[in-house]
């Protein structure tokens, strides 16, 4: 049961972690979930027809569950975080990255689930045929969905940027 997973592993790892992270917004947790995806893959029998698409579909489902839980738990208590390690980015850098991530996260909220799936999949290098299969969109509708998703996200992002700049000016 090792193939095709072992050869896909190194190939898709980074894309898969990012793909999950854009849903759960927690890099460490995303890595854990990516491992979980592969563990499930190794137990999958028979091997799915499109292994790569299968991985990302399972990842999307795990990430959705995770994101729901994370939202609920977030506000109840605060944790005193561990000290930053040597060589870690400065607080300013961390803040800048976090601001960007927060903005992107909110911009993606402009999309419905299917649009988000299609967009994140195309960014992860999937073909339209694979996206159609994973999302249930008609093959001819993938382009239209992506065109709409890109428009919505980029305008939401621009609006958020504008809004924050305006706030900063005050």
């Amino acid at each position: 049961m090792s193939e095709p997973w072992s050869s896909l592993y190194g190939e898709v790892w980074e894309d898969l972690v990012r793909y999950i992270d854009r849903r759960v917004w927690d890099p460490e947790r995303s890595q854990e979930l990516a491992q979980e995806v592969f563990i499930r893959a190794l137990r999958e029998n028979p091997i799915p027809e499109s292994p790569r698409a299968w991985l990302f579909t399972v990842a999307a489902n795990l990430a959705r569950d995770e994101a729901r839980r994370a939202i609920r738990g977030r506000e109840k208590l605060r944790l005193v975080r561990a000290e930053p390690q040597d060589g870690a980015p400065s607080p300013e850098e961390v803040l800048a990255v976090e601001q960007t991530r927060e903005r992107v996260r909110r911009a993606l909220e402009a999309l419905n689930e299917r649009e988000k799936d299609a967009l994140l999949m195309v960014e992860a290098g999937f073909s339209y045929a694979e996206i159609a299969e994973a999302t249930g969109l008609a093959p001819g509708a993938v382009g239209t969905t992506l065109s709409r998703a890109r428009r919505k996200v980029s305008s939401a992002y621009a609006e958020l940027e504008g809004g924050e700049d305006a706030q900063a000016a005050h």
């Binding site: 947790r29 190794l42 738990g73 208590l77 561990a82 000290e83 992107v104 969905t145 065109s147 980029s154």
Partner: protein, 313 residues
């Protein structure tokens, strides 16, 4: 003059390279039209800009991804299903012995440890109940927790049989739900595996105290009990524990090796990922309880345990 302009969806498909490979004929039509129609070329450029903006935005949000752990650790975590497949080629046998040899000792260790657990999630709760002054490194919003507890009184559950039956390795992290009361209040769920599952014949061989003074540490307490003759080294195990604050909740924990030196410990409503070292368990904490009754500890909270002498019975 072209009769019909190209719609946005087709322009994006064109940009994404979907037309050449998928529908060659349509690709040619689009190419011809674009050559003739300035308006559509303009829209193509808009679509290109939109695609580029979104790609840039998404990649700006990407954090560095460290290389993945060795694939063998996942194979080992995926565990016993592998054994059921008929395949047994020399290559396969070689691979298996390859990854089994190294971690065997530790896997065996991990698998033979049934878990007796006490997760003292609320250090303050512990203080209240026992007059012990443990340092609390979590800043709880205590009132919210208290309110939650009051709303959800403890319910008796009888999932023990189900859990015993579900001593399976197919549902990683499938820890049973539990009450808010259990979540918040079990300051010291000291653990003794139930004879109903497997009778311990040895004393506890590992006792661990959390590094509670470390920033980010979670005060907690684990007692691990070793069992003789594990049927399947490397497989997960479900065990029972007893609580000294009553027996209201399903006293079940699941200890599942994730590789040569890490384990996942699933308890009611929470999960610990721990690196197993000689005198230390280090890792992250997260809650697993879904709807209703979550503790609200953020995923990724760090903690570690240090080996301590086991107290007497």
């Amino acid at each position: 003059m072209p009769r019909q302009h190209i719609d946005d969806g087709v322009l994006h498909a064109w940009l994404d390279g979907a037309l050449d490979s998928d529908t060659g004929a349509e690709g040619q039509v689009v190419a011809r039209h674009l050559a003739e129609c300035a308006e559509c070329r303009g829209r193509l450029e808009e679509a290109r800009a939109s695609k580029a903006a979104v790609s840039a935005m998404l990649s700006a949000s990407g954090v560095p991804v460290p290389p993945p752990p060795a694939f063998a650790t996942l194979e080992s975590a995926a565990g016993s299903k592998d054994d059921t497949s008929a395949s047994s080629t020399p290559e396969r046998a070689k691979r298996r012995s390859g990854w089994r040899r190294g971690p065997r000792v530790r896997l065996a260790w991990a698998a033979t440890i049934a878990v007796a657990v006490s997760a003292g999630l609320l250090a303050r709760e512990l203080s209240d109940r026992r007059g012990v002054d443990l340092p609390a490194t979590l800043e709880y919003e205590r009132e919210a927790m208290q309110a939650e507890r009051n709303e959800q009184p403890s319910r008796q559950k009888s999932e023990q049989n189900a859990e015993a039956a579900a001593e399976d390795r197919d549902i990683p992290g499938a820890a049973p739900r539990t009450d808010a009361d259990e979540l918040a209040g079990r300051a010291r769920l000291e653990a003794t595996p139930s004879p109903a599952l497997i009778a311990p014949t040895t004393e506890a061989t590992g006792c661990w105290r959390s590094g509670a003074r470390t920033p980010g540490g979670i005060p907690a307490w684990l007692r691990l009990r070793e069992y003789p003759d594990p049927a399947e080294p490397g497989a997960g195990r479900t065990v029972e524990y007893e609580s000294d604050v009553g027996a209201a909740s399903p006293p079940v924990a699941h200890w599942e090796p994730l590789g040569a030196d890490s384990v996942r410990l699933s308890l009611p409503g929470l999960e610990l990922r721990l690196q197993v070292e000689a005198d230390r368990l280090a890792g992250t904490f997260r809650e697993t309880t879904g709807e209703g009754g979550e503790r609200g500890v953020p995923s990724g909270s760090e903690l570690f345990f240090e080996r301590v002498p086991c107290p007497g019975p």
